[in-house]
Amino acid sequence: MALLQDLMDAYQGKIVKPSDALLHKTTTLLQDGMNARAFGEFEKPKALGDARWTDELILSTWYMAETGEVPDNLNFKTGESDGGFDRLDFQFLQEGDWLEHSEAIDTKLPLNRRGDGKNEIEIDIPWYGGGMSYGSVSVNVMMSRARNAKHWNTLMSTGEGGYPPELYEVKESVITQVATGYFGVEEETIQAAPIIEFKYAQGAKPGLGGHLLAAKAGEEVAKLRGSVPFVSLFSPFPFHSTYSVEDHSKHLDWIETVNPKALLSVKVSTPHDVDMVAVGSYYAGAHIIHLDGGYGGTGAAPEIAKKNIAMPIELAIPKVHKFLQKEGVRDKVTLIASGGVRTADDIAKAIALGADGCVLGTTDLVGMGCTRCSNCEGGPSGRGCPWGLTTTDIELQEWVQQDWGARRLDNLYAALQWRLRDILRKLGLSNVRELRGRTDLLSYIPKEAGE
């Protein structure tokens, strides 16, 4: 009878934690499959990719995550969105004037420019990992990213979903996010972090708050968020204690009291007055202004919000950069850009437009297998990502094992850094900080007649 029951359960696809044999089989098939695709052993899947993340961009990211190198037969630089980063290029020097490709090309980025005695944090690469909450992704994904961040002496944000205990082992690389629902915001999690990130808004859904669908708010997720399992969880918009820059300043003061050494990051989206918001945040005490553009990723957002509200990051960076310069505070604050930053080329372009560095989110997920099928919020199955990324489903989350995930991200970051150095040397720059605001090193690819 037990055998028959096992057979029926398997036939009906009963959801349980996978056995070792199933885990081995599935992860092997998935990893082998990604490897084969990355190396072009099969034709590109016809249904893969979109204008922002083309099939080649996804497969090249897989290649980089497999090898730590950039591919020579796939476009790993741009998408086909017909604007923004995809229409910008670099004005490289003549080949004879290029610098040697070497580790001496400096990619470090200091994050505290206020000289106020708080944490002097310098990351080795000019990007860090964006917030993805526990609940929107699994602990395995969080830990893969956090361990990789530690390895690269950079950072990763918790997102707003609490602080799984596993994160304490890499706490020096983990930013604690404080968002409008205050999920997981506790004295301990504030004190553990080198940087506290206030999330005012998210580029993919500016002005709309957050929403974790009930199906993904399982027992562990609910426990960390201080909630009831399988109940939808909203992060309202905006902070209901913040209706002015003065209120915002009080927020930052509160964190300073709890963790006097922490740097303060303010994450905002990109409305027309984003320049004013940035300056206001600086005067309120922010060390980092983090702009999240309208083409950014999300675990769930109304489709109408993704493109139509607020501006793409490419258009917001120069606006804020120039305004901070005009106000005379540009060198006292770190400007970080996210929301549609996909590649090393995008990172370099964002910096040339005026950012100091970038935040990556979707790129990390693509590196671990994401095909951008848009079912992160649960999809028709209600279980979340079939690749095991944006899910806490007891079976699916096992498809991403921490060692494997961290290794892929390590490789990916190595390739990104290599390409960033490649760009810098071809521009004759020995330091990524020299690239900031150098729009003279960019060119715009004009549209052909009839395009």
Partner: protein, 511 residues
């Protein structure tokens, strides 16, 4: 009785109202008023498909390859004492594509969401392809993406929510070149899923006087408001092309009544089917203006130019219609050469509602897109100090939920829906969808009234909720305040000019 009680009309049921009863009684009445308050809401309910769209994806599985895999896995994993059914029968799909009675041998592509896990996991014998039948739907403006979104909205009545970010092109032509603004912290209101305060979507149809006049007794004299209110800033327009039918007229009439909006219907259809009602807008040719008297219940009647007559403003028809009907008489004006003059003449003659029409790609006859045309109409009236005396309705090119707020920002009071009705009802089209008169559409053969009403109601509920999201993000409390608020929008072309100015090769102007 207490004087204060008399002022508010309180009457205790058991005799004069004493001071100690006053509080209780006023609280009771207050509660009754509160309980009786109906917050406007569109009741949506998921309905089944009767003519489903083609699947998004096609899934092919090589039978031999699958058989080989199963055999190999059975040999590898099966042990009588530990048969590993979970491994042997595991499927690379969480959506059930391979969970039919015969598993992967007969896949179920309608369940495929395109995650491609199966194709990555088993590249030797599984392929997922975009379905060309879906891609063929619509035309260059109303794409299969618009049609699929409308279909989903009409089916579920919900705001479409997905993971991952935006997947399309950067900016784009038409409505895609406009972004709406948001407010980072200063927020007077928030509705929708968090629902603390009301955001109003009601709009007024008709005319407001620019000022009020009072006589020596303090009573109103002079002009008074001549308008009525509908609850959503969209109405149903005349069905384009060959879609005008009694069946469809009955569906849009009853739906518009249910959600408190308007349905423009051909006057002959209205008369023939006795559909005269406050929510129905009979549309008459100018030459038939005298027939306006046949629709005593209509609050708005629209006049259109008579086919075959020279293009121009026909004051005679307008005056005649006003003479024989108490309804507000609106004028339909196509964006063709001389539309500005015609509009101004109509307004000068007393027209309170102007219904502007572009082609179904949102273009005027000179190729200008509706965002510019609506803005020009709005500004013309504004410059003349007449904007609040006229309601601007407009249509053409409105095929997505985001087009509604963008058209209103451009200057309209409310938008008119045409093609979305066809696709909400799972109709199909053949050929170009540009010219209204030439739309060749087919509605499902069995158009059940209840089903169709619910589909249209769902579409309206979804679009209204999406409008609330946009308004909520801006911190705007009512859609009336969005009209002509160009400052709450951003034009990608202008932003690019500001951001990329000085970059080699950038010439501006969207080039």
């Amino acid at each position: 009785m207490l004087e204060s009680a008399a002022h508010v009309g309180l009457q205790a049921s058991d005799g004069p109202l004493s001071l100690d009863k006053f509080g209780t009684e006023s609280a009771r009445i207050g509660r009754e008023v509160a309980d009786g308050y109906h917050r406007y809401h569109i009741d949506t309910e998921e309905v089944d498909d009767v003519n489903p769209l083609p699947h998004r994806f096609l899934v092919t599985v090589g039978k031999v390859g699958l058989a080989k895999l199963i055999s190999k896995e059975a040999l590898t994993y099966f042990r009588p004492w530990d048969p590993h059914f979970d491994v042997i029968l595991s499927r690379p799909c969480t959506y059930g594509v391979f969970s039919g009675p015969l598993g992967g041998f007969i896949p179920r592509p309608k369940l495929c969401v395109g995650c491609l896990r199966c194709e990555v996991q088993h590249p030797e014998f599984v392929k997922v392809l975009p379905n060309p039948d879906l891609a063929k739907m619509g035309d260059s403006y109303t794409t299969h993406g618009h049609i699929a979104a409308i279909d989903e909205e009409a089916k579920k009545g919900m705001v479409p929510v997905r993971g991952q970010g935006y997947r399309g092109r950067f900016g784009g032509p038409g409505f895609d070149g406009m972004l709406t603004d948001m407010s980072e912290i200063v927020r007077p209101s928030r509705d929708g899923i968090h629902g603390r305060e009301l955001i109003g979507t009601a709009v007024d149809i008709g005319s407001k006087p620019m000022h009020l006049s009072f006589d020596s007794d303090g009573k109103l004299s002079g002009s008074t408001p001549e308008m009525f209110t509908i609850q959503v800033p969209f109405i149903f327009d005349l069905p384009p092309g060959n879609l005008d039918s009694t069946r469809l007229a009955e569906v849009v009439e009853s739906t518009s009544r249910g959600i408190d909006t308007l349905a423009c219907l051909d006057a002959h259809t209205v008369a023939r089917n006795r559909l005269d009602a406050p929510n129905v807008v009979p549309v008459l040719d100018n030459a038939e203006a005298s027939r306006a008297s046949e629709f005593p219940r209509a609050r708005l009647i629209e006049l259109r130019s008579t086919p075959g007559r020279p293009w121009g403003w026909d004051a005679g028809g307008f005056d005649l219609a006003r003479e024989v009907s108490d309804a507000i008489i609106g004028i339909r004006i196509h964006f063709e050469e001389g539309w500005q003059e015609r509009m101004i003449k109509a307004v000068e003659s007393g027209a309170k509602v102007i219904h502007l029409l572009a082609d179904l790609h949102g273009r005027g006859s000179d190729g200008t897109f509706v965002t510019e045309l609506f803005k020009e109409a709005h500004m013309l009236l504004l410059e003349q100090g007449r904007r609040d005396t006229v309601t601007l309705l407009g249509g053409g090119g409105i095929v997505g939920a985001d087009h509604v707020p963008k058209a209103i920002i451009s200057g309209l009071d409310a938008v008119a829906l045409d093609l979305p009705v066809l696709f909400a009802l799972q109709g199909r089209s053949n050929g170009s969808l540009r010219q209204r008169a030439k739309v060749d559409g087919t509605l499902p053969r069995e158009l059940d009234q209840e089903w169709a009403e619910q589909r249209l109601t769902n579409l309206c509920g979804s679009w209204r909720d999406q409008l609330l999201e946009i308004l909520g993000a801006m911190g705007i409390r009512e859609v009336r305040r969005l009209r002509g608020e160009f400052g709450r929008s951003m034009v990608v072309r202008h932003l690019e000019d500001e951001a990329f100015e000085g970059i080699a090769g950038y010439v501006g102007g969207g080039c």
